[in-house]
């Protein structure tokens, strides 16, 4: 062993081969407790609520990321460049060369339009012509006289 050590640099030959490190005071005194606490912590059963949250975490994170990307790209465009966005929504049929920005914008606007259409279609109310007599009949059925008077006065 000594012969092996003699090969390592002159300055190190006569030094004790002890690593030049130390540990914080009392480190080894509490190690058993910390290890036992960690084992107990890791083996304690996780509640079903905790499991669900753990399972949902990546999905929620992904949804949040998409929402953030959408807000960062679409919202500034709609605020600062509404005309540009509107112009790019209608892509001419005979366009043969499309640049990357146009594609992204048209994708985003197309996406929002399709969602908008989806929801707005559900909420759309049919236009029905209502004459004055129908209105009064309806009010008479739904309200008392005082309420009808107040409504008409307004």
């Amino acid at each position: 062993m000594m012969n092996e050590k003699k090969n390592i640099g002159n300055a190190l030959q006569n030094r004790p081969s002890k690593p030049p490190f130390r540990v914080p005071d009392g480190y080894f005194d509490t190690l058993e407790d910390r290890i036992e606490a960690r084992i107990a912590d890791e083996s304690s059963p996780v509640s079903s609520k905790g499991k669900l949250i753990r399972m949902m975490k990546p999905m929620l994170a992904m949804a949040a990321s998409f929402a953030l990307i959408f807000m960062l790209v679409y919202y500034p465009l709609s605020v600062f460049l509404p005309n540009y966005l509107a112009k790019n929504t209608e892509i001419p049929a005979d366009t043969t060369t499309v640049n990357e920005n146009d594609l992204v914008i048209s994708y985003l606007t197309g996406l929002t339009h399709s969602y908008y259409d989806l929801f707005s279609a559900e909420e759309e109310t049919p236009e029905i012509e209502v004459n004055e007599q129908d209105m009064l009949d309806y009010l008479a059925f739904e309200m008392n006289e005082a309420e009808i008077y107040a409504e008409l006065a307004n």
Partner: protein, 181 residues
């Protein structure tokens, strides 16, 4: 003091398992700590790795088949945990092995628990630059004076290959120290 055989027998009995594990930690914590510390260098990292090592021992103690001694088994787990820890650091930081060694050296520079002077710092830098296997062999031989026959069981490598690794390591360290002078 209890022998390894006694500890192992108690670890396999549910009623004495907890107390025996505490005895095992007490008995080996310092030796394993210093083994790990020499690989990862910083105290914080060594503490993490040491705890991981003992948690793994606790989880796998029932599967320990006593083909090797308890000390050899513990050393092997600690070595694997240390190398896994460093490789995870490498993956997380998307860096090459050489840059991982830079991470180890940076850790050493900022570690308040490094007591060495300039020569010792340069020696640690030279050791950190070695490939993993050579670094392990060098530390085990130079600092811990572990025999090649024992190292064979821990690192699962022949004594001849270990001797060659040690001599390569010494040569590289010497060259590095000369270049730094």
């Amino acid at each position: 003091m209890k022998s390894d055989q006694q500890i192992l027998a108690e670890l396999k009995n549910e009623s004495t398992k907890q107390a025996a594990f505490r005895t095992l930690v007490s008995l080996y914590k310092e030796r394993l700590y210093w083994h790990v510390r020499k690989i990862v260098l910083s105290h914080e990292d060594a503490d993490d790795v040491l705890q991981n090592t003992f948690v793994k021992v606790w989880r796998n103690i029932d599967g320990f088949r006593e083909e090797s001694g308890l000390f050899t088994w513990l050393y092997r787990i600690a070595t694997n945990e240390s190398l896994t820890f460093l490789s995870q650091k490498k993956k997380r930081a998307f860096v090459s092995s050489e840059e991982t060694n830079d991470y180890i050296i940076e850790n050493l520079q900022t570690d308040p628990y490094f007591d060495g002077d300039d020569i010792e710092y340069r020696l640690q830098k030279a050791i950190a630059r070695l490939p993993d296997k050579q670094r392990l062999v060098f530390n085990m031989r130079y600092y811990d004076d572990i025999k090649y026959q024992d190292m064979e069981k821990i690192l699962e490598t022949s004594a001849g290959a270990l001797k060659a690794s040690y001599h390569h390591a010494v040569k590289k360290i010497e060259e590095y120290l000369k270049s730094e002078e």
